[in-house]
Amino acid sequence: MPRITDTPNSKLNYRQATEPPEPGPGIDLDQELGGVEFRISTRPHITLDNRVCAGCTARRCLNACPARLFVETSAGEIIFNYENCFECGTCYLVCGHEGALSWNYPPGGYGVRFHRS
């Protein structure tokens, strides 16, 4: 949902807002991730073993991942989408369960590509 408002003094061309703008600078994470360049490898660089996750009640990955890539299914399984990963390392550091996550960097040239960071 576009939530870009224009200021009266601005000389910039903002993206066209199609709905009435929200008053504040809201953050829709999906939209934010849509603005980031990811070169997606066909091979996931992080995999998780749900046999280990099944015994975990803390599930700190769900909350801590800045891209919210860990999602709990209704069946209680955790699924992980590696495609929009910032490769930060938060998940393996907060996890604390040996063997739950297999964590590697993506192959050279793949993964997140920042431009204005």
């Binding site: 870009i4 408002t5 224009d6 200021t7 003094n9 601005s10 000389k11 910039l12 903002y14 993206r15 703008p21 504040g24 600078p25 809201g26 953050i27 994470l29 939209q31 934010e32 991730l33 603005g35 980031v36 070169r39 803390a58 700190r60 909350n63 801590a64 800045p66 891209a67 919210r68 910032f86 490769e87 930060c88 390392g89 938060t90 393996y92 550091l93 907060v94 604390g96 964590w103 590697n104 960097y105 993506p106 192959p107 050279g108 040239g109 993964g111 997140v112 590509r113 920042f114 431009h115 204005r116 960071s117």
Partner: protein, 450 residues
């Protein structure tokens, strides 16, 4: 985390295995500084970068303090890609809708020939610095992920395996400048025990505003100058802080969050960031800005207590991988510490090469780090990261500052004005700070920063 696997030496002893005097892993500020020093010293050096270009995997809190860069590259200002020179440094203490600002304007910092600090985009800055290393003779290998260290029969690091085709790169010195996670330092057993408590998570949003609008909103004196705002009290239940700084055409706003604190709550990083953006003191600065890029990165903030062993035979660790960045509340610096540690690592490697192995690079590097501002400041400020993340600093200080300012500056005629001591006592009481607790916090701060 990948486990170190042994590659038989025969696999890399073949005739076509490339040999380098040094292989630097990571073309960030530490790695490129190391490669630059090594190349200048005549060494054959490879500079590995897993991104398509240096800096494309890097994200930071936005300000570079270039004094050490100027020492390494005296004419750096002729080519460095600067966004804005920082001429105003603000510390903002936030409590609900209120904010108390401590601002320092320093026009001399705006001197184009000698800036104290500037903002820059890391892909541009890191690519620039790596380019200087290449110009000095280093070989940059982009889109190359180092996968493991290879050791010889004596247990010395002898090669680096990568995800490129072909045998591992043979070398007599690996410089692991592979960032906050440093899997190489972990694999080598130098970073044992660095868990979540050693790190913070930085999340950052870059918003387009345009140069004129930035100069108007942030009231900067002249084009090319800018503002750096550090914010305390804006991260809810999670220990951390916020930042807001100006680039040429964009502003960056973000948070730094304790990893353990984040994991212990149900707070989401972007929700906390949104809350900061909605603060009445911040919202007018960002209103209507166009979201351009969002990102996150780990910061090894724990400081000296978490420094790994800085090297072993054939391996040196530099930059974020060595926990070299300084997160001491008053001072939030990283790129300068990375550059300094990388340059020292490069010099130490050269010392070993030039002495034909009589000098041990790891020992030379460790003492050089100890003697440089990197080691001195880190040792001196070793208690600062914990103090900054303590409840007294995180909650007590911003509440107290705002209650005190409100107590002093609210005019309540016909009530007589309170004396300053009484105002401070009342502010402390309202902030939930006991006189004893306040005294202890002041003593701790003096011990940490004195």
């Amino acid at each position: 985390m990948p486990k170190e696997m042994e590659v038989p030496m025969t696999a890399i002893e073949g005739g076509n295995a490339a040999y380098f005097d040094a292989v630097v892993v990571g073309a960030g500020p530490a790695g490129s500084a190391a490669a630059l020093v090594l190349a200048r010293g005549g060494a054959k050096v490879a500079l590995l970068e897993r991104g398509t270009e240096p800096g494309s995997k890097n994200l930071y809190g936005g300000v570079i303090y270039p004094a050490i860069l100027a020492q390494l590259i005296p004419d750096y200002l002729e080519s460095v890609p600067i966004e804005r020179r920082i001429t105003r440094r603000i510390t903002m203490l936030v409590d609900d809708g209120r904010a108390t600002w401590l601002a320092h304007d320093n026009p001399s910092w705006g001197d184009p020939a000698a800036p104290n600090a500037f903002t820059a985009y890391r892909p541009a800055f890191d690519s620039w610095l790596a380019g200087l290393a290449v110009a000095a003779g280093a070989t940059l290998l982009p889109s190359t992920t180092a996968t493991r260290l290879v050791r010889d029969a004596y247990g010395h690091v002898a090669a680096v395996a990568t995800d490129r085709e072909g045998p591992p790169l043979r070398t007599r010195m690996v410089i692991a400048a592979d960032g906050a996670n440093s899997f190489l330092a972990r694999q080598a057993g130098l970073m044992k025990g660095a868990g979540a408590e050693g790190y913070t998570l930085g999340v950052k949003r870059v918003l387009g505003l345009g140069a004129e609008e930035i100069e108007r909103r942030f009231n900067v004196a002249s084009p090319g100058e800018g503002v750096d705002i550090e914010i305390l009290g804006c991260t809810g239940e999670v220990p951390g802080g916020g930042f807001l700084y100006t680039n040429s055409e964009t502003v960056a706003v973000g948070l730094v969050l304790s990893l353990t604190g984040l994991a212990a709550t149900k707070s989401r990083p972007e929700e906390l960031l949104e809350r900061l953006q909605r603060h009445p003191s911040i919202e007018p600065l960002l209103h209507g800005a166009e979201p351009l890029e969002y990102g996150a990165h780990l910061i090894p903030e724990a400081g000296f207590s978490h420094w790994p062993r800085l090297g072993s035979k054939g391996l040196l660790v530099a930059g974020d991988a060595a926990f070299a960045c300084l997160a001491a509340g008053l001072w939030l610096e990283g790129v300068n510490y990375a550059i300094a540690s990388g340059a020292e690592a490069g010099r130490a490697a050269l010392a070993e090469f030039d002495s034909h192995g009589a000098a041990d690079a790891a020992a030379v590097y460790a003492s050089a780090m100890e003697a440089s501002f990197v080691g001195i400041n880190h040792r001196r400020l070793r208690h600062a990261p914990r103090l900054v993340m303590s409840r007294a600093t995180q909650v007590g200080l911003p509440r107290f500052a705002n209650h005190l300012a409100s107590e002093i500056f609210s005019v309540r005629d016909p009530e007589p004005k309170p004396g300053l001591a009484r105002a401070a006592y009342a502010a402390a009481h309202r902030s939930g700070v006991s006189p004893l607790g306040a005294g202890a916090a002041v003593l701790r701060a003096l011990r940490t920063f004195g």
